[in-house]
């Protein structure tokens, strides 16, 4: 048994943290608020590709690290900590989805491009019906002479204006399947949605887009599996944001003196931060558990993914709110990074399902267990 990060994973995480801290400043995330969306600079994207990060969550056979979903999650966590544009995380999720559930030909065609950085990819699942996930998908692919034909709208598509490929969830017969759609394909239109953290979220309009049947991901559970992987990566991003908010507030509490003492020596401050720390540790434990369960394709994977997302989403929002409160007035200013994490945490907490929605998944799992 070993339920802590092995040496390779620790190294990957440490390298990512150092590199992102050097290459991407919070200042860039702040500037993006005035000129959205927040986009990855081309050189940085190329550097990440060179490091092999886009295959971090893929199997060795797929050209990846073979370290499991946890490797992708650790990178997503660092992206959240560094306030990095989301494109890396979307591409990690897309790569893992293809690696786990793609047909051999499609994998051979697409995975090398994705891992090499030449084909950013993202999932397109949600629709304007007020809920989340593959089960709520209404867009249906029509079978015809030229293969499948897709029409409809997808919203809250992450990193859509830089993606080269969309993995679109659509009904095919009774199932919800994943269909690869190129950004440049006929009938595809991308409309920005303007999120409060300036992330590149778009509406994807599909008007009679053609997809060859043979390109559909063959596994009937592919859409659910890909959505679970994406969910866990969003949770990881949130965990990184929570960690950053906690770290900056802890540092401030050590420095800021009022009444002749560092404010961190007041229990009103120190115990609030201790509570955030407890939640971060519990959240981290859930994140690792969910990743491991996905790797092992365990029956409780869905419930653990839901648990991680629900818990970490609330933890991240709470960590950012604690940061605002404990910084006092200064934490409420544009120049401090506190609000950048508050924006990201708030937005990601309701991305890929909010806490209440995920708790319903958990409740179904409990009903099943206790039946």
């Amino acid at each position: 048994m070993d339920f802590e990060l092995g040496e390779e994973l620790v190294a990957l995480r440490d390298i990512a943290r150092d590199l992102l801290a050097q290459r991407w400043k919070a200042e860039s995330a702040r500037r993006a608020l005035d000129a959205p969306p927040s986009r990855m600079p081309g050189e940085l994207w190329a550097e990440l590709a060179e490091m092999g990060w886009f295959g971090a969550g893929c199997s060795e056979a797929g050209g990846g690290s073979g370290l499991g979903v946890i490797a992708a999650a650790l990178l997503a966590e660092e992206a959240g900590r560094a306030l990095l544009p989301g494109a890396m995380t979307s591409t990690l999720a897309g790569a893992v989805a293809l690696d786990r559930n793609g047909g051999a030909a499609l994998k051979a065609e697409l995975l090398p491009q994705i891992i090499a950085g030449s084909l950013p990819v993202t999932l397109a699942v949600e629709e304007p019906n007020g809920t989340w996930g593959p089960d709520s998908v209404e867009v249906a692919a029509q079978a015809g002479a030229g293969g499948l034909k897709l029409s409809g709208r997808k919203i809250f598509v992450a990193d859509g204006s830089s993606a080269g490929l969309f993995l679109v969830a659509a009904r095919v017969g009774d199932d919800v399947r994943l269909l690869p759609v190129e950004a440049g394909a006929g009938g595809v239109e991308v409309v920005p949605m303007q999120r409060i953290d300036a992330q590149d979220i778009v509406e994807l309009r599909l008007d009679g887009v053609q997809v060859g049947v043979e390109r559909m991901l063959p596994d009937a559970g592919a859409a659910h599996d890909a959505y679970a992987v994406w969910t866990v990566l969003v949770a990881a991003d949130l965990l990184g944001s929570a960690g950053a908010a906690l770290a900056m507030t802890t540092a401030y509490a050590k420095e800021r003196v009022q009444f002749g003492r560092p404010i961190g020596s007041f229990q009103a401050v120190s115990h609030r931060l201790a509570d955030v720390q407890v939640n971060v540790e519990i959240g981290r434990s859930l994140l690792y558990a969910a990743c491991l369960a996905l790797d092992e394709r365990r029956g409780d994977a869905g419930a653990l993914v839901a648990a991680a997302k629900a818990f970490i989403g609330e933890t991240a929002v709470d960590a950012a709110e604690a940061a605002v409160q404990l910084h006092g007035g200064i934490g409420y200013t544009w120049e401090l990074d506190v609000h950048l994490h508050l924006r990201r945490a708030r937005a990601n907490a309701v991305t890929a399902g909010d806490a209440g929605w995920h708790r319903e998944t958990v409740a179904r799992h409990m009903a099943h267990c206790y039946a």
Binding site: L33, Q258, G329, W334, H339, V350
Partner: protein, 388 residues
């Protein structure tokens, strides 16, 4: 024990309501004006001329000598009609009462009527980068040279900084004294040489506060309020002089009603979690309302309301945040779009309200300080090495 208003009070309310209705178009014009500051000044003057500003103040200085109940009636009617807030609110709520209590007769005659009419807008220079919750540790220095104080230092969290005509500020006049005993209270024209103002952008992207820098700014000695080195107690007396909070209740009422309507279909909220939550907020809001009535009754009867203002402030801040958070949560991902997004719900007001709500447990005394005040002054617990 009763909550009824007398017939005369009800008649007063009616006249107030009629006046508001007759002047609603002037109120509406404020937001749309080309020069919104001038429009807001004009609106305040119009209200003052009608007798609806400075109700508690002595007639000698432009006030109305009105009863507390009349004040409550006017603030309720103004909040209910969603009239624009008075632009000179800081002067009205903080400096005015201070001068009435501690100013010289000359200061009162000079300043009070112009606060009421809006002719002179005031900003406050209390907080500093190193003096927030621990306000008494402020370091802005004032040295008496001849008949002038010469002031150097930096103030933070100043509202209206760029448009104010005057500033009331706390300065350290005796650095060798214990920290609460070397502070003085000064009044200063904002166009005095040596003052510069830098607007601060807030987390929501807007501008509300400024930093104000004082570089050898000369302030005539006649603009000292109260005793030299006696400024701390003066400032403290108006920090404690908080309003009954009943107008805050009315603004929360609006937020709660919007929360309900957002979640309700056909009048009812089907989701039990959201329904129970909304009901809890109604309960807490009523608690806050009647707490306000109790505080008001104490004031009417000439009893000290004690630290009940801290109870109300703490509870109201939390409730405002809970309602704002619930509104955001209920709207899901749609609430997290900017107001420019075609998909946003509520024109971005949910996020703005949420960001705004977070400031309520910081400004005017943090919730941590309010807890200290309640623990020490109401429960009589020993100081936590900090102070209220």
């Amino acid at each position: 024990m009763d909550l009824k208003f007398s017939a005369a009070e009800e008649a007063y309310r009616l006249r107030c309501r009629e006046w508001i209705a007759a002047n609603a178009h002037h109120a509406a014009a404020v937001a749309k004006a080309a020069d919104p500051v001038q429009a807001a000044r004009d609106w305040q003057r119009r209200l003052w001329e009608a007798g609806y500003v400075g109700l508690a103040w002595p007639k000698a200085y432009g006030g109305q000598d009105a009863t507390l109940t009349q004040q409550v009636i006017v603030s309720e009617e103004m909040a209910r009609a969603k009239l624009p807030p008075l632009i000179n609110t800081i002067g009205l709520s903080i400096l005015g009462p201070t001068l009435v209590l501690h100013g010289t007769e000359a200061q009162r005659r000079r300043f009070l009527p112009r606060i009421l009419s809006g002719e002179e807008l005031w900003c406050q220079g209390f907080s500093e980068p190193g003096a927030g919750s621990d306000l008494a540790s402020l370091t802005t220095r004032a040295v008496l040279e001849g008949d002038d104080f010469v002031v150097t230092g930096q103030k933070l969290w100043t509202s209206l900084g760029p448009i104010a005509d005057w500033c009331f500020l706390l300065v350290r006049t005796d650095p060798s004294a214990p920290k609460r005993e070397g502070i003085s209270y000064l009044l200063c024209r904002m166009d005095t040489p040596g003052i510069s103002v830098r607007p601060l952008r807030n987390a929501g992207g807007g501008v509300h506060f400024s930093e104000v820098f004082f570089d050898s700014v000369r302030i005539p000695r006649e603009h000292l309020v109260g005793e030299l080195h006696g400024g701390w107690k003066i400032a403290r007396s108006t920090l404690d002089h908080e309003r009954s909070g009943l107008s805050g209740v009315i603004s929360l009422e609006g937020s709660l009603e919007r929360l309900w309507r957002q979640a309700a279909a056909g009048g009812e909220i089907a989701d039990a979690v959201a329904r129970q939550q909304a009901a809890q907020y109604w309960i807490e809001l009523e608690g806050l309302r009647y707490l306000g009535f109790r505080a008001l009754s104490d004031q009417l009867a000439g009893r000290q309301p004690g630290a009940s203002a801290s109870v109300g402030k703490l509870f109201a801040a939390k409730l405002r945040q809970k309602i704002a958070r619930a509104a955001l949560d209920n709207a899901g991902p749609y609430a997290c779009l900017t107001k420019k997004s075609p998909h946003v719900v509520g024109k971005g007001r949910l996020v703005a309200g949420y960001f705004d709500s977070l400031g309520y447990s910081i400004g005017g005394g943090t919730s941590e300080i309010m807890h200290n005040v309640i623990a020490e002054r109401v429960l009589g617990l020993p100081r936590s090495s900090g102070e209220a």
